[in-house]
């Protein structure tokens, strides 16, 4: 098992190095830092001097290693757009996105599993089929449209919930949280539904199909034949076995939540990293793009590591 986890960690590091390479290549080949740092009136001497200072005259590999080292120290350079260290900007923005993603994930996961189990058990029921049909409509509607409709309905027409932003936040030593104020909590509702709805649907459908798959297994038939109650069969036997594949996919889904937050943040003017990123795209702010890229993959890789560990804890076959 230690080997397994160690192997996964090694693989994760490898993945990060590759992503780092992509980010670094973006830096080097697209956003020429010299161009951005020297402005229009530059001489060849200036360029050569700065190349030396920045180490750009060194071989690619050396530069890459330096990039990786400084990235590990959280140093991603200075935003072209804002003229501030990218790490600092990201640190400001991260709490908003992470809180949104966390709430969405919780929403998607809890409702997804519950509805998935429900629809799998009541396969022919009216409510289950209604939920399924609605869920397909849910995945067929783009996120941004759902966001707009939610705003129109709940903010504009009904005036129940705020239409944009995080509401009031409380600063806990560099981490701004919306969890501690009622306006912050209210502001979270619509964006997290918007962001989580799609993942919720996916998880629900996955749980349902895996559950139905598991329900066809011999050990479920055997459990029935042993006289166990339907409750025990559903929750003790079927659900646990369903969780193994569900966890993998859910891990991937939650990882992509952070990236998909770009859309939600745009619609709701949510002051997170996604909004930052889309602005970076518009202004071709390469350092911000590269850093965001790295950050997303670190989170993604981290989530996948956790998923692997969860796997081990659920499936005894992996423990030997």
């Amino acid at each position: 098992m230690v080997t397994y986890i160690f192997r996964r960690i090694l693989q994760s590091i490898l993945v990060l190095l590759v992503v780092g390479l992509v980010a670094f290549a973006m830096f080097t080949f697209i956003g020429d830092p010299i161009d951005n740092m020297l402005g229009q009136e530059r001489t060849q001497e200036d360029i050569d001097r700065l190349r030396g200072v920045l180490g750009l005259d060194q071989p690619f590999v050396v530069q890459y290693v330096k990039f990786v080292i400084s990235a590990m120290q959280g140093n991603f350079g200075v935003s072209y757009e804002q003229g501030r260290p990218v790490a600092q900007i990201l640190a400001e923005r991260a709490p908003a996105t992470l809180e949104l993603a966390a709430v969405s994930a919780l929403f998607a996961l809890s409702l997804g599993v519950v509805l998935g189990v429900y629809t799998a058990i009541h396969r022919k029921g009216f409510v289950a089929n209604l939920v399924l049909t609605l869920s397909l409509i849910g995945v067929s509607l783009p996120t941004f449209l759902i966001g707009i409709l939610l705003i129109y309905l709940f903010s504009v027409q009904l005036d129940w919930l705020p239409s944009f932003g995080r509401g009031e936040t409380v600063d806990l030593g560099g981490w701004t949280t919306g969890f501690l104020t009622s306006s912050g909590m209210r502001a979270l509702i619509l964006p997290s539904i918007t962001l989580g709805l799609y993942q919720m649907t996916l998880i629900m459908r996955l749980v349902r199909s895996e559950m139905m798959e598991v329900m066809r297994q011999d050990y479920i038939r055997f459990a029935r034949a042993r006289g166990l109650s339907e409750r025990a069969i559903t929750f003790r036997h079927a659900l646990k076995n369903t969780m193994v594949p569900v966890i993998t996919v859910t891990g991937l889904q939650l990882g992509s939540l952070i990236a998909f937050a770009i859309i939600t943040e745009t619609v709701f003017q949510w002051p997170g990293m996604g909004l930052l990123f889309i602005n970076a795209i518009k202004f071709v702010d390469i350092p911000v793009m590269a850093a965001y890229l790295m950050l997303i993959s670190v989170m993604f890789v981290g989530i996948n590591l956790i998923v692997d560990l969860l796997y081990v804890s659920i499936d005894p076959r992996l423990r030997t």
Partner: protein
């Protein structure tokens, strides 16, 4: 990191004000910088007018009134202007305001790195007479000089030196990009670029506060529908602008109202007068057809301004024939007619110029600067298509737009101009005069229109004190740029602000939103 949370900041202020109110407003674009000299654009200057102040300021009716200068007078013989500074004024950090700060701000604002240096084109020298007296000497008599520096904001010299920001830095930014230390009614409490900017009242302000705000938060909301939703749901108290199409709804709804006005801003199309060849599309490299005045006239005739006003602008704007609106000083009443919409005439002109089969070119357009700017450009594209010339539209955020124009990357472009001095001379100086770095002239004349007679007339206009003579000269310039079709002027942009019913504020025609006139009921 210096940051006050919303809660604590509010608590601090609450103790002071009896009817304390928070106020929040939203706009399409975030002010790029907090540096008053780095970018000469209305969103920045409008915002910073709340934080910084100039020697003079404009009142609710746009009239110039004393601010940091208690009074001013022309120096004999038109050599310049003497400003007597207000005493006892403090900067937000508590330091005193003196003539030294004015001189420093002049040097900073007229420096190579500054975007606002063209304001100081007429200035030959600035002399500190004593702590509270300063002379601005001009190379020629300049009767309008005090009017022209209402947006010239004074920065604390000691603060700038201490923070190593004695020169603005447009690209990389420096301390003043994110921080401010002015004398204005509001202090910069928290600045998160692109997210929120929070202002709090400055207790030590020299003037009497008319407002009752305890904290004001600005949020840029890029998506117009979101900002409307935010206003309707009461999440913000004011938005500028309200998308024109939503104005009626916002006005009719309980709880919100719309404040309309005609902005001083003229929307026009510009050409690459100094481009020998086209830069874009498959015709790139071909000789520039817009060098031919007949082609420019054809464009002017092809644009159906009335249609734009009736549909995209929903009838809430006026067409215009000049670079200023009729309300501005120096408007040339004799030249009030725009070329009529005339597709056939335009085609005939094109044929005459040898472009019967048309051509294609690149049209640049911002998509978040003016009201429905991209839609207008699209409409222009299809109108030009009617006379057989194909515009390839490239719309982009304003932050990318100005650099693109400065680098001459266009065949035709959209521009809006609001004369800071409310005088016809202003656009002539910025848009019609031949670009001249040294004299700081024609700095926004991206297409490089050049006419010797205009260049000759401009200094005369600037120094002429006799109104009739001055107007005659302006009329001549108008005649020139109209007949040359230097720009295709289209319409004067409307001002459409939306507020909650409980907000009272003053809308100034220059689209500057000043918090010091806001009352929250």
């Amino acid at each position: 990191m210096l940051r006050l949370t919303a809660c604590t900041a509010a608590l601090l202020i609450l103790s002071g004000a009896a009817f304390a109110e928070k106020f929040s407003w939203a706009g399409t674009t975030d002010p790029q910088t907090m540096d008053p000299h780095a970018v000469n654009s209305a969103p920045v200057l409008g915002f910073l007018n709340n934080v910084y102040e100039g020697l003079v300021r404009r009142g609710k009716d746009m009239a110039v009134e004393p601010a940091l200068a208690a009074s001013w007078e022309a120096i004999d013989g038109g050599a310049g202007w003497r400003f007597t500074l207000r005493e006892g004024v403090k900067f937000h950090d508590g330091s005193d305001f003196t003539a030294e700060d004015v001189l420093f701000s002049y040097e900073r604002g007229s420096s190579e790195e500054a975007d606002v240096r063209s304001w100081f084109a007429p200035v030959s020298e600035v002399k500190v007479v004593d702590d509270y007296t300063i002379d601005f000497l001009t190379s020629a008599p300049n009767p309008l000089f005090p009017d022209s520096i209402a947006n010239f904001m004074i920065m604390d010299s000691g603060w700038a030196e201490a923070n190593n920001t004695t020169r603005p830095d447009k690209e990389a930014g420096n301390y003043a990009t994110l921080n401010a230390n002015g004398t204005g009614a509001f202090m910069l409490a928290n600045r998160q670029p692109g997210l929120t900017t929070t202002l709090t009242p400055f207790g030590g302000w020299w003037d009497t506060a008319e407002h009752n705000i305890t904290e004001a938060t600005f949020t840029p909301i890029e998506n117009p529908a979101t900002s409307v939703a935010a206003l309707l749901s009461g999440d913000v108290d004011m938005i500028n602008p309200v998308p024109i199409q939503d104005a009626d709804r916002v006005d009719q709804r309980d709880g919100t109202k719309v404040i309309r006005g005609i902005e001083a801003r003229v929307i026009m199309l510009g050409f690459g007068h100094d481009h020998d060849t086209l830069k874009y599309t498959s015709d790139a490299g071909d000789p520039n057809p817009f060098l031919d005045v007949r082609v420019r006239e054809a464009v002017a005739k092809a644009v159906n301004v009335d249609a734009i006003l009736q549909t995209i602008m929903r009838g809430s704007a006026e067409s215009v024939s000049q670079l200023v609106s009729p309300a501005m000083r120096g408007y040339s009443t004799a030249k009030a007619d725009r070329p009529a919409y005339d597709v056939e005439g335009a085609k005939a002109l094109l044929a005459e110029a040898g472009y019967a089969d048309g051509f294609s070119f690149g049209l640049k357009c911002p998509n978040d600067r003016y009201l429905n700017d991209e839609a207008v450009c699209q409409a222009v594209t299809s109108m030009l298509a009617q006379i057989g010339i194909t515009a390839e539209l490239d719309a982009m955020p304003v932050q990318n737009y100005w650099p693109e124009l400065r680098e001459d990357n266009f065949d035709m472009y959209l521009l809006g101009w609001s004369p800071g001095t409310f005088d016809h001379e202003h656009p002539i100086r910025f848009l019609v005069s031949t670009p001249n770095e040294e004299k700081k002239l024609g700095s926004w004349n991206f297409g490089g229109f050049s006419n010797a007679r205009v260049d000759e007339l401009l200094p005369a206009i600037q120094s002429e004190i006799d109104e009739t003579k001055r107007q005659a000269m302006i009329d001549e310039v108008t005649e020139i740029y109209q007949s040359e079709h230097a720009y295709v002027t289209m319409y004067v942009q409307p001002l459409v602000w939306g507020t909650r019913d409980n907000i009272e504020l003053t809308q100034r025609p220059d689209n500057f939103f000043l918090l010091r006139w806001v009352t929250v009921n």
